[in-house]
């Protein structure tokens, strides 16, 4: 039985992840999700389905939300990748994270990193969304535990509070230096 799908062997790839330049030696067939989790030890993004159907792997690439499970790592060279690990800074949580805790916007928590990243990205594009806009923007993030009502509440609350708090925490430029 011939197996041509294995493809070429590992090659070096330069990735900018959470503001840091990282070089990984990987097969070109690797997804961004598998590289984040297995090569870079960033296990916050989860493998829920591997087919872009659940959103547990949500990351931000060049400012846009993306499913890391459907993104090839080689396609990310020269682009800025942000994961859940960059959303908080040391003890300093992002307003979205604080709101998730305050409003119990989770249950088992497995989808939560993806939900938080999707919410952060939404608020970067639309700092004061309506409830309908939150529901629409986050419809690609499945929560099987059904924490949706509290997630909506948390995102709207974070949006209300967001302007009063440090707006830079979610920006792409703060990756190093401040958190010590």
């Amino acid at each position: 039985m011939a197996i041509s799908f294995r493809g070429p062997g590992p090659i070096p790839i330069d990735l900018n992840v959470n503001g840091e330049e990282r070089t990984v030696f990987i097969e070109p067939r690797r997804t961004l999700l598998s590289v984040l989790r297995e090569e870079l030890g960033l296990t916050g993004a989860k493998h829920g389905c591997g087919r872009g159907q659940c959103g547990a792997c949500t990351v931000i690439i060049d400012g846009e939300t993306a499913y890391a499970c459907l993104t090839l790592a080689v396609d990310c060279e020269g682009r800025s990748i942000r994961t859940i690990e960059s959303v908080s800074h040391g003890e300093q949580l992002h307003p979205v994270q604080e709101a998730f805790i305050e409003h119990d916007g989770y249950q088992c928590g497995f989808c939560t990193p993806g939900q938080v990243v999707a919410a952060v990205s939404l608020l970067e594009h639309n700092p004061s969304p309506t409830e309908a806009e939150v529901r629409e923007a986050m419809a690609g993030n499945v929560c099987r535990c059904g924490a949706y009502p509290n997630i909506v509440t948390a995102v709207l609350d974070a949006a209300r509070q967001g302007t009063g708090r440090d707006p830079g925490v979610s920006g792409a430029t703060v990756a190093s230096g401040e958190e010590g």
């Binding site: 197996i3 591997g50 119990d104």
Partner: protein, 777 residues
């Protein structure tokens, strides 16, 4: 001194008489008017930061040096015989550590006693071969290199095919019936019920096969150190996993440690060790390297269980005033090739209403699918759809308010057991829910239709266990700086267990929440705790924590008395207030908690506590009622659930914040069950058409109605020392039935096949139109 006592425990619709070791003095329940500092207050989760930052470690996230990844080759047929298997090319692939299949496999049997790899595969996804390799890519490549010849065999995918006269054998040499006579319950007689009835309704229902869809798929990671084995397992039962691993590997229990710190959903499907756990353990022992096996999404649908579909017939008889004379309910289910899962479909019919004549029967047959598993209120969700749908039809026929019909048949005592309830707040739940919903004004809202949209309202109610019971234990350590560690052998599957245990410990010890650290999800530090099923975790384990904390305080007070020079004073003269131990007769004599512990040096107070027995001759149950408003589009068939009010009686609510989340979760899951979720098997191939999260439609954020939650919140002081009962399952039970009843109210046609998809709704409307045309001819 420990003694052995008998106690009644209800677990998922079955009453067990257990002999348990009781070792604590009776602890009076916290009463109705006790001023509480932590219990009863909305409390954000103690592990919230780990959850929102991605730092929480799930089984999927375990990565150990040198770890191998295991994958299974699975049957592509619903039923076949394997005639040849050749793994030589796979074994030769660089990076592959081992390949196992029926030709070469370790001497271990799966937990149901069958060998893991056999000649005959009986369902799509059955294990054919196992590979452990350097990483997932190599493992997948190796699977593609294994050559297997199959001889396909005839199969049966559903109950009617499997039980037909000329049915093919689901498992060669085995009867397709698992239980042909059926699990039967009878009180009074059907004949008497019919004779006494002024009105009879009879309906048939079908309910779908529903998939748990845990977002963290099932998996285990295993590492050996000498003869000690550590198993990270995404499980609802760490102790159940430990005993099943020890048993399967034939090693002593004390060599097995099971860790399940964070669990990405279970809903009944994640219990003890599974084939992948054993393969990981054996491959790790064989290779000397840690091994992780995680199912992919498709495997999760194929081999990780489901709620069985049902075919049901319900017959109700009643007097003109609504008094029930008969409840008869029959259900047929298929539970997979080798059976499994809970299907106590007749549970609600036995106990929800006062009725002298009740008969329920549940028959089970095999089919060529994997085994069913308990799924959040197993049997009760299915049974309630039919029972509460029939009650709605009866109310309609009698021209009675559906709520009034239920109140007319209210059971003050447990109808099946004849025992009084420790507390039953269903009447209050009916009232509170109706008031919040505006049930008495419902006609007005139902009239306001727009274009093709018709509005309707409906309700349904619920009974479930959730009283928990022994055994459950806790250990509390008081540390020199005045903080406390609490270890409990339960696991937090997302319900907030860790948080409520912390609240109860802080309450009893008189410490701030921040001074109590609770450890769950690890068999090493903790004494036994129950699996998280049957809504028992809170009601079983929080009283054990209270008991352990009281024992710790007793020891602490002894030391404090010495330090205050009051060695002779009776222990009962001391109280703990605001972190200080106070001598009642002379409150000037007091000493802060942490001053006592500081003087202990490195001495540590270690106290154990146990869950006491359940009250004698009492039924301990949970209750609820849901009220729903829907809008139905008669042109497209779309059902939009607009608003749902959920009223629940679970005794004392320990944490209103996480309790509300539980109700949201149950309602959302029931919304999927009632309107979108359905496993579909192609009758021609016997293969699943819906093994993913696109074709199997779980609710997403745009589907969610306005959900309002009200709790009766009266402590059940007879049930246990905390006065609280479980909530994991109750809220999924009545919602789908209430939605179906609201759809009837909206369009005047009862859809009795769930989920109520546009296709089914339009078909029902068309059929009703045809029948009424024929009727006028």
């Amino acid at each position: 001194m420990p003694t052995i006592r008998k106690t009644q425990v209800e677990f998922e619709g079955r009453i067990e008489e257990r002999e348990v070791i009781v070792e604590e003095e009776h602890i009076e329940s916290w009463g109705h008017d006790v001023e509480m500092r932590w219990v009863g207050k909305p409390t954000p989760r103690v592990d919230g930061i780990a959850r929102v930052t991605g730092k929480a470690v799930y089984t999927h996230d375990i990565q150990l040096p040198g770890m191998l990844i295991g994958r299974f080759l699975r049957s592509p047929f619903p039923h076949a015989r394997i005639t040849r298997i050749d793994s030589s090319a796979a074994e030769a692939l660089p990076g592959v550590s081992l390949v196992w299949h029926k030709g070469k496999q370790p001497a271990v049997r799966s937990l149901d006693g069958r060998a893991i790899f056999v000649d005959e595969v009986n369902y799509e996804g059955a294990e054919v071969a196992f590979v452990a390799a350097r990483d997932e890519r190599v493992a997948e490549d190796a699977l593609a290199l294994i050559e297997v010849d199959y001889e396909p065999l005839p199969f049966a995918s559903d109950f009617h095919t499997a039980t037909a006269a000329d049915a093919p054998s689901v498992v060669l040499g085995e009867d397709n019936w698992i239980d042909r006579e059926g699990d039967l319950y009878e009180r009074g007689s059907v004949e008497a019920g019919l004779t006494d009835a002024d009105v009879v309704v009879e309906l048939e229902f079908t309910t779908p096969v529903a998939a748990h869809c845990c977002l963290e798929t099932h998996g285990s990671a295993v590492a050996w150190e000498g003869d000690l084995v550590t198993v990270w397992h995404s499980t609802q039962s760490i102790f159940g996993t430990r005993s099943s691993v020890a048993e399967a590997l034939e090693i002593p229990m004390d060599r097995v440690r099971v860790i399940s710190d964070y669990i990405g959903g279970g809903f009944g499907s994640k219990w003890g060790a599974e084939a992948f756990t054993l393969m990981a353990a054996l491959a790790a022992r064989e290779t000397g390297r840690p091994v992780k096996v995680v199912l992919n999404r498709e495997e999760e649908h194929l081999v990780a269980g489901y709620r069985p579909g049902t075919y049901q017939r319900v017959r109700l008889g009643a007097k003109q005033d609504g008094t029930l004379t008969l409840i008869e309910q029959e259900a047929d289910v298929t539970t997979g090739a080798f059976g499994g899962g809970g299907h106590v479909v007749g549970g609600p019919a036995k106990d929800l209403y006062l009725c002298p004549n009740v008969r329920t029967r549940v028959r089970a047959a095999r089919a060529n699918t994997d085994g069913a598993r308990a799924f959040r209120a197993p049997g009760y969700v299915e049974g309630t759809v039919a029972l509460e749908g029939a009650m709605d039809a009866l109310a309609h026929k009698l021209r009675m308010d559906p709520l009034a019909l239920r109140l007319a048949n209210y059971a003050e005592k447990s109808p099946s057991r004849g025992q009084s309830y420790s507390y039953k707040g269903l009447r209050r739940a009916y009232e509170m829910g109706a008031e919040r919903f505006g049930w008495s004004d419902r006609t007005a809202s139902a009239q306001s239709d727009e274009g093709p949209w018709r509005r309707g309202v409906g309700m349904a109610s619920q009974i479930w266990g959730g009283g928990g019971g022994p055994p459950a234990n806790a250990i509390v350590k008081l540390l020199p700086d005045g903080t406390a560690e609490v270890a409990v052998g339960v696991q937090d599957i997302g319900t907030g267990t860790k948080t409520v245990l912390t609240q109860v410990a802080a309450e009893e010890l008189g410490l701030p929440l921040s001074a109590v650290r609770c450890v769950v999800g690890d068999t090493l530090p903790a004494p036994f705790g129950p699996g998280s099923g049957g809504s028992v975790t809170l009601a079983s384990s929080t009283p054990a924590v209270r008991s352990a904390c009281r024992e710790a305080l007793r020891q602490l007070i002894e030391l404090a008395a010495i330090m205050l020079g009051l060695e002779e004073a009776p222990a009962g003269d001391f109280t703990v207030e605001e972190g200080e131990i106070v001598y009642g007769p002379d409150p000037e004599k007091r000493i802060p908690f942490n001053q006592v512990t500081a003087k202990m040096g490195n001495y540590m107070i270690v106290a154990k506590g146990a869950r006491g027995p359940n009250p004698e001759d009492r039924a301990v149950n949970t209750f609820g009622a849901h009220y729903v408003q829907v809008a139905v589009n008669v042109e497209t068939g779309q059902v939009r659930v607009e608003r749902l009010v959920a009223a629940h009686d679970i005794g004392r609510v320990v944490n209103p914040l996480t309790a509300e989340s539980q109700v949201f979760g149950g309602v959302v899951m029931a919304l999927g069950y009632g309107t979108t979720e359905e496993r579909v098997i192609d009758p021609d191939t016997g293969l699943q058409l819906t093994p993913n999260l696109e074709e199997y439609k779980v609710p997403v954020m745009v589907d969610i109605p306005e959900i309002e939650v009200v709790f009766v919140d009266v402590p059940d002081v007879e049930a246990n020392s905390v006065g609280s009962k479980g909530l994991g399952e109750p809220p999924i039970i009545p919602a789908a039935a209430a939605i179906a009843n609201a759809v009837f109210d909206a369009v005047g046609v009862r859809v009795t096949d769930l989920p109520i998809t546009p296709k089914r709704l339009l078909a029902a409307l068309r059929q009703a139109a045809t029948e009424s045309k024929e009727g006028t001819r």
